[in-house]
């Protein structure tokens, strides 16, 4: 029997199952196949809380959503078209997000009385008519998998484990995905366990052929490749991109990277990634706590390395005193904060943007620190390089504010040419200078010399006590303290003229409303803006990458528009900074749910504001 093939421009699939069901792997594989096929992609993994919860329970549900299209897309999508639910918990936790008419593929084998009870289903939703609004595909995925693997010499448990590959095979058929990469992936992954390897491949192929033969799927779907800029691409998550960007910064500055870090969700993966790059001269030090981590990084910077520390909000709180010291001694230092939901421990695996004011003001005394925020997973790479450039050029600690959404989300990334990446000049002080002055500033940048131990004739002492301008000797002179306080501020403020001006996307230049965002909300905001424009609305968009100092043209830009909307996953922190500096009554839109914005909610907000115009 031949099946019909339907063309679609975009599809959003969510794989959901128990933490033990391998949904993240399934999602990663489907993503790889899809990338290879040439669609544009955006993904959103959703882990349960840190500890693995008992099998089959709601807290144990793990999911992976992926959005692919024949055009360039910006978000993992608001709500899925297709939900794969490997057990009752997965169904219950996710069905609410599936719009009516959506496809839901259900693994009926897991819908035992016991499993249903675990999540409080009185009867199986598959039979009790509660799913009539959806196109339900109720399939015994586990037993089909086991059956397909009869001839293998495997424990039942191992056979059952392959059910995620069966599901992957089925969906790969359903959307015409290329299968080779998955097969070779499985060959590599299980190279040491040939039987398991063959079984997984068999399960994968069984899923595919089941799709071809079953009545259940009358139609399969095609999503044409997107017309992306030509070039070499890879799929990359924010944490990986950030780690690689730091390696690139080391490479482009000729400085060895020294990471002092203490593990914390969702930043740990940067430590894990960087610890693989010793051959790049990257030294990673897992410290006893966050204070030691940044202390060691600062010590390394004093020694002429590119010192860096990675953490999340609670860790930044602990590092505050040492960041203040770095401000006082004026040495390059990178502080990466992968923001998560707060306050306190909050929701450690969920995203948020509520550490901006902490980065600005979270220290005693007047201690300004530049802040850079990436706007997409791949952009973490470039943000890291930019932050390093500022840190080294201006001899200052710099914050990189990423977030949990960027950290774990992924997107295709067109690889840059290394030669096109900026070069960073470390510009160490020359040896044997006559009466060397460690706090004599460069008149243009106001940066002080970086004189590293081992340099003859420049022996000097630095510290947290106020220092005399120039000589750097301890000074209790009132006028000097006032001067130094202003110089430290002026140095950071001056960076405003050394960064890209804020770019505004205002196609016809006649929009009256500007949407201004920062960090990980870029995708959702852009998607919302597109929707407005599709429907003929005129709205301008800009995204702030440098949060301290703001780009020099920020003020002009804001004044150009009647209304400025600032959507943030906090209670209005960027808005506070804008209002204080520019006295403009920006319109805040705030939701603090531990989740990224949906394009739809934002387009609604924008519409409301426009109509209230």
């Amino acid at each position: 029997m031949t099946k019909q093939v339907q063309q679609l421009d975009r599809v959003i699939i969510r794989f959901a199952g128990d933490s033990g069901d391998g949904m993240q792997l399934t999602g990663d594989r489907f993503t790889a196949e899809t990338a290879e096929f040439g669609n544009d992609i955006s993904t959103l993994p959703n882990y349960p809380a840190e500890i693995r919860a008992p099998a089959g329970t709601l807290p144990g549900v793990s999911s992976f959503q992926l959005h692919f299209a024949d055009h360039d897309i910006l978000t993992p999508g608001d709500s899925p078209n297709v939900l794969v639910a490997m057990n009752p918990a997965a169904l219950k936790a996710n069905i609410g997000d599936l719009p009516k008419g959506g496809d839901v593929i259900i693994n009926t084998d897991e819908f035992s009385k016991r499993n249903l009870a675990k999540v409080g289903y009185p009867a199986s939703p598959v039979d009790d008519g509660s799913l009539t609004d959806y196109r339900v595909h109720a399939l015994p995925l586990t037993s089909m998998t086991v059956k397909a693997l009869e001839d293998f010499d495997l424990s039942k448990k191992d056979a059952e484990r392959a059910k995620n590959m069966f599901a992957l095979g089925l969906l790969s058929w359903l959307y015409h995905r290329p299968v080779e990469s998955t097969i070779s992936f499985l060959e590599k992954k299980f190279a040491r366990k040939p039987e398991i390897m063959k079984a997984n491949i068999a399960a994968f192929q069984a899923g595919w052929s089941f799709g071809e033969t079953t009545e259940d799927f009358a139609t399969s779907y095609e999503v044409k490749p997107a017309t992306l800029e030509p070039g070499l691409y890879r799929q990359i998550t924010g944490n990986t991109a950030l780690a690689w960007g730091l390696v690139a910064a080391g490479d482009r500055s000729g400085l060895d990277l020294f990471l002092g870090s203490y593990p914390i969700t969702p930043a740990s993966d940067i430590l894990h990634e960087l610890s693989k790059f010793k051959n790049f001269g990257v030294r990673t030090f897992q410290a006893e706590d966050e204070i030691a981590a940044i202390g060691a990084a600062l010590g390394a910077s004093f020694g002429g390395a590119l010192g860096l520390t990675t953490t999340s909000g609670p860790g930044v709180a602990l590092k505050a005193e040492t960041i203040g010291l770095a401000v006082a001694v004026e040495l390059p230092l990178l502080i990466v904060n992968v923001q998560r939901s707060g306050p306190s421990t909050g929701l450690p695996t969920k995203t948020e943007q509520a550490d901006l004011l902490q980065a600005m003001f979270g220290r005693n005394g007047e201690s300004p620190v530049p802040i850079v925020a990436p706007l997409s997973p791949a952009d973490c790479f470039y943000a890291a390089i930019e932050a390093a450039r500022i840190a080294v050029k201006y001899r200052t600690p710099v914050f990189i504010l990423s977030d949990g959404y960027l950290a774990n989300g992924s997107e295709p990334w067109k690889l840059p040419e290394v030669a096109d990446l900026p070069v960073i000049e470390a510009d160490f002080a020359e040896p044997l200078q006559e009466d060397f002055q460690p706090f004599k500033r460069d008149p243009e940048t106001l940066a002080r010399p970086w004189a590293v131990p081992g340099t003859a004739g420049l022996e000097h002492r630095i510290g947290g006590l106020e220092k005399a301008d120039g000589s750097g000797n301890i000074s209790y002179d009132p006028a000097n303290h006032d001067l130094m306080t202003r110089l430290r501020q002026a140095k950071v403020d001056g960076i405003a003229n050394d960064v890209e001006p804020l770019r505004v996307d205002d196609p016809d230049g006649d929009a009256r409303v500007l949407v201004l965002g920062w960090g990980g909300t870029y995708g959702a905001i852009s998607a919302a803006v597109r929707r407005i424009r599709k429907s003929g609305g005129k709205v301008a968009q800009a995204h702030v990458r440098h949060l301290n100092p703001f780009p020099a043209n920020m003020g002009e830009v804001l004044k150009k528009y009647d209304k400025v909307i600032v959507p943030e996953i906090n209670l209005g922190q960027l808005a506070t900074l804008l209002r204080a500096k520019y006295l403009i009554d920006v319109v805040s839109y705030n939701r603090v749910r531990g989740l990224p914005f949906k394009a739809e909610e934002l387009s609604d907000v924008i519409r409301d504001v426009m109509s209230s115009e």
């Binding site: 030509p230 691409y233 890879r234 051959n279 030294r283 390395a305 040492t322 022996e459 002492r461």
Partner: protein, 342 residues
Amino acid sequence: MSDALALVPKSEIPLKAKDFKTDQEVRWCPGCGDYAILAAVQGFMPELGIRRENTVFISGIGCSSRFPYYMNTYGFHSIHGRAPAIATGLASARPDLSVWVVTGDGDSLSIGGNHLIHALRRNVNIKILMFNNRIYGLTKGQYSPTSEMGKVTKSSPMGSLDHPFNPISLAVGAEGAFVARTIDSDRQHLQSVLRQAAEHKGAALVEIYQNCNIFNDGAYEPLKDADQRDDVTVRLEHGQPIVFGKDRDKALIQEGFGFRVGTPDEAGVVVHDAHNPDPSQAFALSRLDQPAFTHVPIGVFRSVPRPSYDSLLNEQVEQAKDRQGRGDLTELLRSGDTWRID
């Protein structure tokens, strides 16, 4: 000098104590024990024969932590308690430096206690000079973690309630590979201990009994008073039987896992074994000072070789370069799953 400093460039010209003095006016109270320690260190440094510019002194906050300003080397007067952490980064990134930490009993055992014990267990290549005056000097005289129980201070008008740390016991319990004690008033002993510390490749803890004549004067009187000191002070020397007393008429005899004081001619006089991989004897010696000041061992309690943190770290870096080849950024970017769009 031992290979502990093998990686640190030697000075072409022989240096003198005065080469290590800065133009900064030394600011401690007249009579403070810190002066004697400063002089002893400045007098000792030339011995190492290394370049001044490859020497770094890092301190926390406290009277003692003013030390770096008076040493004409590179210096970092950091924040309270964090010097060992900062020094860990510097020493790990720069094996060509000789890194010294100067700290106080409060700086290293109160707020900095965690960094201290971790630096010791990792055997980071830093020499830690703990100026123990059993008081918070800079903040004008509150009791410290080494103050005796019942001490009356501004913050303990009815006497402190805290059972003090014994820095030697703590350091040995924290896997310290080099643990020693000396005293501000005995320059020769102080320098001999510094010498042995410098020869240890890794973390060396040197507790220096220091008199704060303003807020805790006479804390170490029994060790200084000409009449008692020789009967109280027990000088440890590796390989030597532990004999002491004005007339060298006293000796330590093992009793159970501890000691009793006997005479040199008795059987079972304990021979000091600082190199013993098992720290138990060193620990037992650290408990000798019970009740306080009956008998106080000074010298090197423990000195055992163990790979230093920086050497292990840099070995891995070299290994990685050998195995994977020097990192190539372009290669990295193109590694793994990629695809081309034309």
